[in-house]
């Protein structure tokens, strides 16, 4: 089926070329990092993880989010998601590829990476994260690719794909739980040391991930002949809304526990993020932006009349994505490392080079998603499934 990715409109080629250019440019800066070390980043002795690991964490959520389509489809036989399932699985592949990319660029000695396999260490959560992420990648490649191939040949899906699909549903929960365990089991990092962190991770994943997926699907509808089931989209928007409500609720639980107990360790990080400590208020504008956009997205998503407005929906989803990204892609990591173990504040901000390397990984993910979505939409076009009524001549 890969050949379907080779034939496309000029716009498709320009987009692919643009992504390749970004990847090429980014790898130049990554070479620099390989030669000079992680000193080119804004990380420090006190904030020893930064933008890379934050993106990794956010994208694990995006990877896990496909399950919000796959689960209703397989467990509840919700047929209106039938045409979306493949996109959920392919999005997960792109997201896991980016996750692995962000891990690779973050480690100081990438050529020794296989030491994690050569000296397997079950007491390290990082070992388990490696296991579940790679497992999830393999599951989605196997299930997604095989089912699409069968669709193309008008064959029923083999039984084993169903077994693997069921497995991947449970597995999706595991990848984000294990990623939360990376953080929440560390003594002395109060912002992370909370039993609800894994639940928060899942809630924010299940709103932000499907939101990104839905945005990409809307874009796909614009540039291809694919047309998703309208009711399916409405249901997915509903799921996103519920997950965002739970996400906000879980965060408020943290706020209550910290401030009603009044224990300084529990309050410090939140105070640093939202008010600033010792004259350091670097993240305050971002966190309040997240609050405003998060609540704004709820106002636009909870009333059915606004949620079902297909013109408004992309905007509601976009501000939800920005809000959750600030919370998890900036606040979680920087707030976790501040205050430092010495009760001091160590400001962190990614450098330009760090951002370019991150852009390289994001472009790589976009390339993978583009190619996979291209194949999926071409197959759907070929089989005449989920098509716009009047098929335009382009493409």
């Amino acid at each position: 089926m890969l050949e379907k990715a080779l034939k496309g409109s000029p716009k498709y080629y320009i987009w692919i070329g643009f992504l390749l250019l970004l990847i090429l440019g980014g790898s130049g800066v990554y070479m620099l990092q390989l030669m000079q070390g992680l000193t080119i980043t804004g990380m420090s002795r006190d904030v020893s993880w930064g933008f890379y690991i934050a993106q990794f964490t956010y994208l694990v959520g995006v990877a896990a989010s496909g399950v919000m389509i796959v689960l209703p489809y397989y467990f509840h036989h919700y047929k209106k998601f039938k045409d979306l399932v493949i996109f959920g699985e392919f999005m997960a592949i792109g997201a896991v590829v980016m996750c692995l990319g962000f891990i690779v660029v973050d480690i100081g000695q990438p050529q020794r990476m296989l030491n994690v396999l050569l000296f397997p260490t079950p007491n390290s959560i990082l070992f388990w994260d490696m296991v579940v992420l790679n497992g999830y990648l393999i599951l989605n490649v196997l299930v997604g690719w095989t089912c699409l191939e069968c669709d193309r040949q008008h064959l029923p899906h083999p039984k084993w794909t169903k077994v693997l699909a069921y497995t991947s549903i449970i597995w999706a929960f595991s990848i984000h739980t294990v990623t939360a365990f990376l953080y929440q089991g560390l003594p002395g990092r109060h912002y992370w040391l909370t039993a609800i962190l894994a639940a928060r991770f899942l809630a924010s994943a299940f709103c932000s991930g499907p939101a990104i997926l839905l945005l990409v699907i809307m874009l796909t509808q614009k540039v291809t002949t694919f047309k998703a089931n309208v009711e399916g989209i409405a249901t997915l928007a509903k799921i996103i809304t519920y997950a965002m409500v739970v996400n906000v609720f879980f965060f408020l639980l943290e706020v209550f526990t910290a401030f009603y107990s009044g224990i300084p360790g529990h309050m410090h990080s939140i105070v640093y993020l939202f008010k600033g400590v010792d004259g350091h208020a670097e993240l305050v504008p971002f966190m309040w932006t997240a609050v405003a956009l998060g609540l704004g997205s709820l106002c636009l998503l909870i009333p059915p009349r606004l949620r079902d407005n297909i013109k408004l929906l992309p905007w509601s989803l976009a501000i939800l994505v920005i809000a959750t990204w600030i919370d998890k892609g900036l606040g979680l990591l920087i707030g976790g490392f501040n205050p430092t173990p010495f009760e001091t504040i160590a400001p962190y901000w990614p450098t330009g080079k760090e951002l370019i390397v991150s852009l390289m990984i994001y472009s790589l993910g976009a390339l993978v998603v583009t190619i996979l979505f291209k194949i999926a939409t071409e197959v759907k076009k070929e089989t005449g499934a989920s098509q716009k009524e009047a098929v335009p001549a382009e493409n």
Binding site: Q36, G37, L38, T39, T41, M43, S44, R45, D46, S48, W49, I103, D106, I107, G108, Q109, P110, R112, M113, N115, V116, L118, F119, T121, N123, S124, I125, L126, F127, M130, L182, Y183, L186, P187, G188, R189, G336, F337, T340, P341, F342, E343, T344, A346
Partner: protein, 257 residues
């Protein structure tokens, strides 16, 4: 044709199996040799190494700087300016060190500086989180590191509640006086984590840790499991505290206040 292919596959399989056995045997032989600790009389041994610091004697930036200098010279620790610095032993105030602000402390204590270093915890979070066992616990209680196995993921730095670990963000040798290197101890490469190692390399040669030697009696080092040891004697005679005891890591560094 089929016949020869089968024979070829058999031969290839046997060769591969043989190679596996040979390399596994080699690995076993190496690990066997590596775990043997030199066994002559000079080696200082203990069941649980620990350190007691008399902060009344080393309680200023200047006195602690002497300890840090001895340590950093012994271990070729580079002097890197800025926040990507590396330190094995350094000075900090009461609140930074002990995480428990105390209003209206006596002035002496308020101004006192405390030497900070790796606590060589009994339940070390860094050992727990390391995905490659590059950070490991020795039988004598020392939390040691294999700089050649470390992949530089820095999980141990997030795990350590004492901020005892440093990462080589850049090439450390650029910030070392290569003429004044201690040839007895390796320099590190870029991209790995490092920290105080309780001077395992000196203990193996019958010497006390470098900071203890430079402290003129203010630092006492010994076997916590031996009731007759110097550290146990000092602990019996003085009131001591440890850093962040509530976290349950059981630090091996005690402070006389």
């Amino acid at each position: 044709m089929n016949h020869t292919r089968r024979n070829f596959l058999k031969f290839a399989g046997l060769t591969a199996a043989g190679l596996c056995v040979a390399s596994a045997g080699g690995a076993l032989a190496v690990s066997g040799a590596g775990s043997a600790i030199r066994d002559d009389e000079k080696v200082l041994k203990a069941k649980r190494w620990a350190m007691v610091i008399d902060t009344k004697k080393v309680g200023t930036k200047e006195t602690i700087a002497v300890l840090a200098k001895a340590c950093h010279a012994a271990h070729n620790v580079p002097d890197i300016p800025g926040k990507q610095n590396i330190k094995w032993l350094w000075a900090a105030g009461f609140e930074e060190a002990f995480d428990q602000p105390n209003n209206y402390m006596d002035e002496g204590l308020e101004k006192r500086e405390f030497p900070l270093l790796c606590n060589h915890c009994t339940n070390a979070p860094c050992v727990r989180v390391c995905p490659t066992q590059a950070t490991y616990k020795r039988a004598d209680g020392i939390v040691a590191m294999d700089y050649h196995r470390c992949i530089g993921c820095r999980y141990c730095m997030a795990g350590c509640p004492f901020g005892a670990r440093s990462f080589n963000f850049m090439e450390p040798r650029l910030h070392l006086d290569l003429a004044a290197l201690n040839k007895e101890f390796p320099t590190r490469m870029r991209g790995v984590v490092e920290k105080c190692n309780f001077c395992v390399e000196r203990l193996a040669h019958g010497k006390q840790p470098a900071c203890v030697e430079a402290s003129q009696g203010a630092l006492v080092f010994g076997d916590l499991s031996d009731p007759a040891s110097e550290v146990r004697k000092v602990l019996r005679e003085h009131y001591t505290i440890r850093r962040k005891p509530a976290l349950g890591t059981e630090p091996g560094v005690y402070y006389i206040i």
